[in-house]
């Protein structure tokens, strides 16, 4: 059936001439523009990596020079002896600790008067005095050599400085002045001769020390308190172990050679495994990340220890148990807590929490808690408590999401089988959302490790590896952290110095640590995701 009045086919103009730029239509240009913006995240990540390395990578070369001069100037050689001396000091400290415990026992348990207790400790004190003096020959040697070695190092640094000065003069074209700058080369061989010449003296000193110690060990008196005797036996063993290190030290000193090259990996391991972060020291600067990392880790563990039960518990409560009015109240409040700026929390820690915790720790009846009482107002515990408050909202939000994503059918099936609410929650819902909860905890860890202001203000900032041997009371020690050290020292270091570059390397370590934590969090979620819709 054809229509008689069909009009002539109109000529449509479909294609408008499109404006083209670089062969792209306008729409494609817009798309490219937005796509370019989407790449910003990638670019920023790349830029962060690039610039951190640009400023930091030179560190390893500089640190190698740092270690090289440590060797060339004989500081390393002197440190062998110094180490021996310090080990001995540690032993005398142990002895002192035993005395303190004995005294405490005598006065508090046996109710002796102080004079009486001291009288009973007289033979012990006599022994401790002899033991402490035993090291004297080595100590004298060390203090003499310290000056010599420092003098060599100073000479070398001055030489380096004049070199730089001459180069600067040359670069501005002042050839005459540059020629006038005299550089005195340091002949390490002759400079080191007085130090190396002390080897026979050291040998003699070591023999004397050994004789002294052995003699004093033979006359070790029995402690007036019998229950502490095991400590003395342990002390004997420690001294024997100490004496056993003498030949190794001597051997190391005999084969020591200032010309031995320092490989680059030494500089790297010195940073990653170095147990000292020591700057602006008269003797030798060390840039080891371990104390900072240990501090960061300790604080994060305290924070997570508090925040995980609270955050996950609150997530379970809000999602499964609370009424909807409660939900409407709790969720915004926790979000609000997450908006409290960390510097305000840090200030709160300084002004209120530090003192409050110390006051609590000094209550007599709480003495059984490890680490109590403590005297440092700012320590890992203070910072950890505040960081917990920062971690809780992160953990809560993500864990609540994870719990919310458990399919409804799981819950219904569990109820249908006659399980109670508690059984359903603890045996069905939580295990089903465990991957999400674990990743929430990991992201909470990432948040806590990267937090700066709270730890800078409240952690006490003592650069030392926390003494884990004291058990749980380690949490009350002041520590320093990776984030804190950057914030504290970056403003004061000259640009381009080794210290400046070391701080950038700490930043690199922090950056990759954060990426690693993120990576694991995502991996866990992806791997253990429940695949039932």
């Amino acid at each position: 059936m054809s229509s008689p009045s069909s009009p002539a086919a109109p000529t449509f103009v479909i294609g408008k001439a499109r404006t083209r730029m670089l062969g792209l239509t306008l729409d494609e240009c817009i798309q490219a523009f937005f796509g370019g913006n989407a790449l910003v995240a990638v670019i920023v990540l790349a830029l962060i990596t690039f610039f951190l390395f640009r400023e930091g990578a030179q560190f390893f070369n500089q640190n190698r020079d740092n270690i090289r001069i440590y060797r060339l100037a004989g500081l390393e050689y002197v440190d062998y002896m110094r180490q021996q001396q310090e080990d001995h000091t540690a032993l005398t400290r142990y002895l002192f600790d035993v005395r303190l415990r004995t005294l405490k026992h005598l006065t508090e348990v046996e109710h002796c008067s102080l004079a009486e207790a001291n009288a009973r400790l007289a033979s012990f004190d006599d022994f401790a005095g002899r033991y402490g003096d035993a090291i004297e020959p080595v100590r004298g040697l060390v203090s003499d050599l310290t000056e010599v070695a420092t003098a060599i190092k100073t000479k070398f640094t001055i030489g380096e400085d004049t070199k730089i000065q001459r180069e600067q003069l040359l670069s501005v074209g002042k050839t005459a002045e540059a020629a006038a700058v005299v550089i005195q080369p340091v002949d390490f061989k002759s400079e080191l001769a007085p130090i190396l010449g002390t080897l026979p003296a050291y040998k003699e000193a070591a023999v004397v020390v050994r004789k002294n110690l052995e003699a004093s060990l033979a006359t070790i008196p029995a402690l007036p308190v019998h229950s502490l005797q095991p400590r003395m036996d342990r002390f004997k063993q420690l001294t024997r172990d100490y004496l056993a290190t003498f030949p190794t030290t001597l051997h190391a000193m005999e084969i020591w050679d200032y010309t031995r090259p320092v490989p680059l990996w030494k500089s790297f391991t010195g940073f990653m495994l170095g147990r000292q972060w020591l700057t602006a020291s008269f003797w030798q600067d060390w840039y080891g990340i371990v104390p900072l990392f240990a501090g960061s880790l300790l604080i994060s563990m305290i924070a997570l220890f508090i925040a995980v039960p609270l955050g996950v518990g609150a997530a379970i409560y809000v999602n499964q148990i609370a009424s909807s009015t409660e939900q409407g109240l709790i969720k915004p409040t926790i979000e609000f807590i997450s908006a409290i700026p960390s510097v305000v929390l840090g200030f709160f820690g300084i002004a209120v929490l530090g003192q409050a915790l110390r006051a609590v720790s000094q209550i007599q009846s709480l003495n059984w808690i490890p680490g109590f009482p403590f005297s440092e107002r700012l320590n890992a515990l203070t910072a950890g408590c505040l960081l917990a408050l920062i971690a809780v909202p992160t953990i809560f939000t993500l864990a609540e999401d994870a719990i919310n994503n458990v399919p409804r059918a799981f819950k219904e099936a569990s109820f249908a089988l006659g399980a109670t609410r508690m059984q359903t929650i603890l045996r069905i819902i939580v295990p089903a959302s465990l991957s999400g909860i674990v990743s929430a905890i990991l992201l909470g860890l990432g948040r806590v490790i990267g937090e700066t202001m709270v730890v800078l203000l409240c952690a006490g900032n003592r650069i030392q590896i926390p003494d884990f041997s004291v058990g749980l009371s380690v949490v009350t020690q002041p520590v320093h952290t990776m984030t804190g050290i950057i914030a504290q020292e970056m403003g004061e270091v000259p640009q381009g110095s080794i210290h400046y570059r070391a701080l950038f390397m700490v930043g690199v370590a922090l950056f990759f640590l954060a990426l690693l934590i993120n990576f694991f969090a995502q991996k866990i979620v992806r791997k253990y995701r429940i695949s039932i819709g």
Binding site: F34, V343, T420, G450, T452, I486, G507
Partner: protein, 354 residues
């Protein structure tokens, strides 16, 4: 007969007791968190409001809010205890010295204790924070929203998009101090912008970018697909569709969720420490010779000021006022921003239902 309980009524049992006890543990955990948060908030509000508010008219301590920080001088003079800011103290001393000269006595010696930053106000810090927030959020919103438009409207799921998403996720996890280092290395040193507003803007903008992208994408995704299909069916181009049928509906969502980003930008100290913040600066930001200098000047900022006053000066009754006062004002600003965001979003969730 009626004494007997209903056979289906719940009877107390060990299991039931255990369940109730467990639930109470969870409840306590939740409320403990809330109590801690509110305690911190309350402590600062209570102690800080003493500095910011006053009993007499106009009830707000205008000096604190509108003046620059000054040193505080505490001294005893002629049996009276005085506390004065720097300018007031100088005027006072000059007057006393002049009086003594007239009376023919030697100039009086005034023994003072001084505390830096403890008198005057925090006006430059407020200004600096506002400038930092406005600038960085403008940059972040521009980059973030464009990025989100690409991810939600243009991109097809593929390796490229997954790569970008991975980058965004990882960027969100980078510690703020690392952003500070990055800003120092790139903007302050490599681009030679020195410690300046613009360096701080870019550092903060990059830091908050993941928040803005995620929030914007969520808002864009919540616009129904039918809106786009309808527009495309009428012959509009992709860009026309986005401009007229997607963005207007997504905009409120984008803005409200991004306010949380503002709270983050305003609250962070570490990124601006090396890039934008000065410990103290006499001039206000608009007192510049030429317009170009405006971007290349450092500013004082509230979070950094809190850090300075809480770590660099001793804690006592004289310094406490400025410490708590600054913290209170700062918390108030950040809290207001966050509360606005939360309330607006909850409202939005209810009103936009299609």
């Amino acid at each position: 007969m009626s004494d007997l309980p209903h056979i289906f009524a719940s009877r107390p049992s060990r299991g039931r007791f255990l369940e109730r006890a467990t639930f109470w543990v969870f409840r306590l955990a939740t409320y403990l968190v809330l109590a801690c948060g509110l305690f911190v908030f309350g402590d600062i509000v209570v102690k800080g409001s003493g500095t910011v508010f006053q009993r007499e008219f106009p009830f707000v301590n205008t000096t604190f809010l509108t003046h620059s920080p000054e040193s505080l001088y505490v001294f005893e003079y002629k049996g009276q205890k005085h506390e004065m800011g720097d300018t007031e103290f100088r005027a006072f001393r000059e007057k006393e010295e002049a009086d003594a000269k007239v009376a023919g006595q030697p100039a009086p010696k005034i023994k003072t204790e001084s505390y830096v930053y403890s008198a005057g106000g925090i006006w430059p810090c407020i200004v600096g924070t506002v400038l930092l927030v406005v600038g960085s959020m403008t940059i972040a919103l521009f980059l973030g929203v464009s990025s989100a438009i690409y991810l939600s409207e243009y991109a097809r799921d593929g390796r490229f998009v997954r790569f970008i998403r991975l980058a965004i996720l990882n960027l969100a996890g980078v510690p703020s101090i690392v952003f500070g280092l990055f800003g120092l290395a790139m903007f302050v040193l490599a681009l030679k912008w020195n410690v300046s507003l613009i360096a701080g803007w870019f550092t903060l903008a990059f830091m908050v970018l993941p928040v803005v992208i995620t929030a914007s994408e969520e808002a864009l995704k919540s616009v129904p697909k039918g809106f786009r299909d309808g527009s495309l069916a009428l012959g509009a181009t992709k860009w026309q569709t986005i401009r007229s049928n997607v963005l207007p509906y997504a905009l409120p969502g984008i803005l409200t969720s991004s306010i949380l980003g503002i709270a983050r930008v305003a609250g962070e100290t570490a990124p601006i420490m090396f890039t934008a913040a000065y410990v103290v600066r006499d001039k206000l930001p608009w007192e510049v010779d030429k317009l170009g200098d405006f971007f290349f000047q450092g500013v004082m900022a509230l979070p950094y000021h809190i850090y300075v006053v809480s770590s660099k000066i001793p804690q006592n009754e004289y310094t406490e006022r400025v410490q708590y006062g600054t913290a209170f004002v700062f918390l108030l600003i950040v809290g207001l921003i966050a509360a606005t965001s939360i309330v607006l979003r909850n409202k939005l969730r209810g009103s936009y239902k299609w």
